[in-house]
Amino acid sequence: MLFHSPIFILGFLPICFAGFFALGHVAGATGALIWLTAASLVFYGWWNPAFLPLLISSVLVNHTIAGKIRHSEQPRTWMAAGVALNLAVLAWFKYADFLLHIVVSASPPLGITLPLGISFFTFQQIMMLVDTARAATSSPVMDRSPVSWPGLTRPSTTCGVCSGKVVDGRTKSGHDAMGTMGTAAAGASIVHAFLPYAAFVTFFPHLIAGPIVRGAEIIPQLTAPDFARPRDKNLAEGLLIFLLGLGKKCVLADMFGSFADTGFGAAARGIDLTFFEAWYATLSYALQIYFDFSGYSDMAIGLARMLNVRFPLNFDSPYQATNISDFWRRWHITLGAFLRDYLYIPLGGSRVGRLRQAANLMATMLLAGLWHGAGWNFVVWGGLHGLFLVIHREYRRLLPPLPAMAGQALTLAAVILAWVPFRAASLSATLIVFRGLFGLSGVALPQMIVAAFPPLSAFAEPVAVMPSLGDARTLSFPEVSACLLLGWFIVLALPNIHHMTERSRHLVLTASFALSAQAVFFAPHVAPFLYFRF
């Protein structure tokens, strides 16, 4: 079930909320939690009920292993077994075909269907097992080295969990700037009971595509005595954030997605892209993936808020980052925190030599790429980001920082170019797009544009229409140009909705609601969220 589908908005959501608060009133928080878990399973099974047993088994097995970790004398062994089991399941569903193809290139595909959200619920449960083991062995709190990737301090960021301002990377209530808690706190907060654990893992707002949240952040909220009491403030705030996220997804992301699909689709078919076709497709995709995923995250945050649960912030105007480390503190924040705390730091983090640090960064980002999908294009994307992070680290060690504007421009260029392999259907399509971006497949402009501005004919070949740009119509070029200007103005010049004033949020809702309603209830095609496939 998609958050932006009519069946979810008009069917699932009202029934789920009514049942939740009614049961909360009649049967207390436990009854509401049972209802919420059941509703989440319905939400998950709506797409393909065949994978419900997988999700339920995963919850049961992981909860059992967490119990073993707490009570065993060898918690680390149980943790390792649990992590290995989770990774094995993930590998089978997500990477079996990819690995098989590497070993036997001519092998036919196994045809395994990827269960929805498996990457997310697997990672969350791995975090749970590791946190439980850390608590059980009272190991040190996570690495707090001030130089560990991607850095722990940010100037002033609202934490979605506590809505407090971050001071020195930590909020008043003890959450760090990534919206996560230290391991000791996490371990201490882990609830042993099955129901809160199951409700946490299956909680529908984050089940399919995150944010990747820790049990220690969510379970205490689910077990609060007044958890199921309706609160006007939360309902209003949550609804507002949900509707603004809906607008990001349906009005902006899907519009830019259609532009990106045209260009990347042509590249996938082996058709060369001219300069503007390639740039417009790439710039459109950069906007699509941001609006799509941050829109989804906002909708998830809003839904959870309506149910009295606060999620951490997942996006913080990432294209306004002034360097690549900053980008990773703003883009998919909860994944960045996971990679930092459960991969990069255990590998040695920044406590090791420079070469080893670089290797750790590369390994972390390559795996981040692979997490997004079993394909070499994702590996290339991860590798590029690893390389960017290594270069940035070395640059920062040797030279003074760039001026903010220059840093932002360079970061943006690097991030945008790295989206090309991420989006392209294959490495050959990636090369086609790169050739276009560098003008190696020519520069063309619509005949009408060249006729109106004759000096353009000096470098652009006039064509009737640009077949791989927008809808390939006569006026597609100015149309896509104007849309891109609007999109990039929003992401570069405006605050994101979590930093807006209440008044600004209502103004944005006034501007976007009717367009969102148009897209949800009247647009003939509903595009799924990009991150559903990861």
Binding site: D232, L235, A236, L239, L240, L243, V251, L252, M255, R269, I271, Q447, M448, A451, A452, P462, V463, A464, V465, P467, R473, T474, L475, P478, E479, A482, C483, L486, H506, L507, L509, T510, A511, S512, F513, A514, L515, A517, Q518, A519, F521, F522, A523, P524
Partner: protein
Amino acid sequence: MRRILLACGVSVLIYTVLFAFVLDRPLSLGALRARIEAGLARGAAIEGPKLVILAGSNGPYSHRCETIEPILGRPCINAGIAVGIGLDYLFARWKKLLHPGDIVYMPLEEAQYVRSRATAELGPDAAILLRHDRATLWSMPLHRRIAALFASDLRGGIMSLIEMALVRGGFRDPREAATGSFNARGDHVGHTRLLGSISQAALAAARPFHPSASELRNGYGASLVREFLDWANGQGIGVVGGLPTGFVDSPIDEDAVAAIRSIYRDGGAAFLELPGRSRYPRSAFFDTPDHLNEAAQISHSVAVGRALRQMAAEPAGPGGEASGVVARPDTPALTAPGLSGGLSATPMRLRAARGGPDKPGHDD
């Protein structure tokens, strides 16, 4: 919560006012609207029996009333506009101007049969209806009216601002110089092979999409055509279905052709199938797989005109039944009850031998 509801309400109000009364697309939709209205005006001005070609842009680009009219000996209006214009809208406008004895030739593009209702109701005609033709909109079903109200998206709004600014700034649409223009009958003229040379690379790479027979048979557009055929039968108006022009190397499946044919035949209309099924080499096309260049357009129109004339001239099979004339397996029978109005009192048949691709420019 009250402020949220207020914001939502104001949003819908602003959206409605903007798209119904303020924003307009004078270049893109304006050009389509001008052609629709020009065709209707010509149709209204003709008193005797006439031929009306209804299709997508395949109508004006690949068919030429100027050529067909003298062959058939009756005035002709090329009322095909664009594939995205709703068939229900075209039918609603033309029904008022069609009279017994008129012939409607419909070489619809395949996409017109299979578009979903949701897609069809959000076509460019929705914005035209809401902004400029609210009388017709009001006569249409409620779902169509609501869809027209919510047909515009952010892209539409942005394009409106661009087009309105261009027109206000005196911007002259250069498309005429680039692609040719439309004559008084609604034919596209001047789309020469030379002007089309700029699109040959794109045409060479184009891969037309062909829907399946089942999609064609069950499409929303097909249901609209059936409703129109019912109405035309009752009015004594002759309808002749046809195939759109397309690449010879990308033929429509036999089953799909049969599905299209059956839509018309089962509805009591005739069906015109030229030798070669209106397939031509890619070099005969102008800028898209639906648009012949001018020379091929004329040649194709000669073939269509002669076939229509032959249909009108040939007597039906024994008995002169109104429908169901049996043809040899290789010569599909064409019944056209409505053709009786002006050309013949009985069903007619056209012997259409199956052969290779038509030869544009060749005129016998």
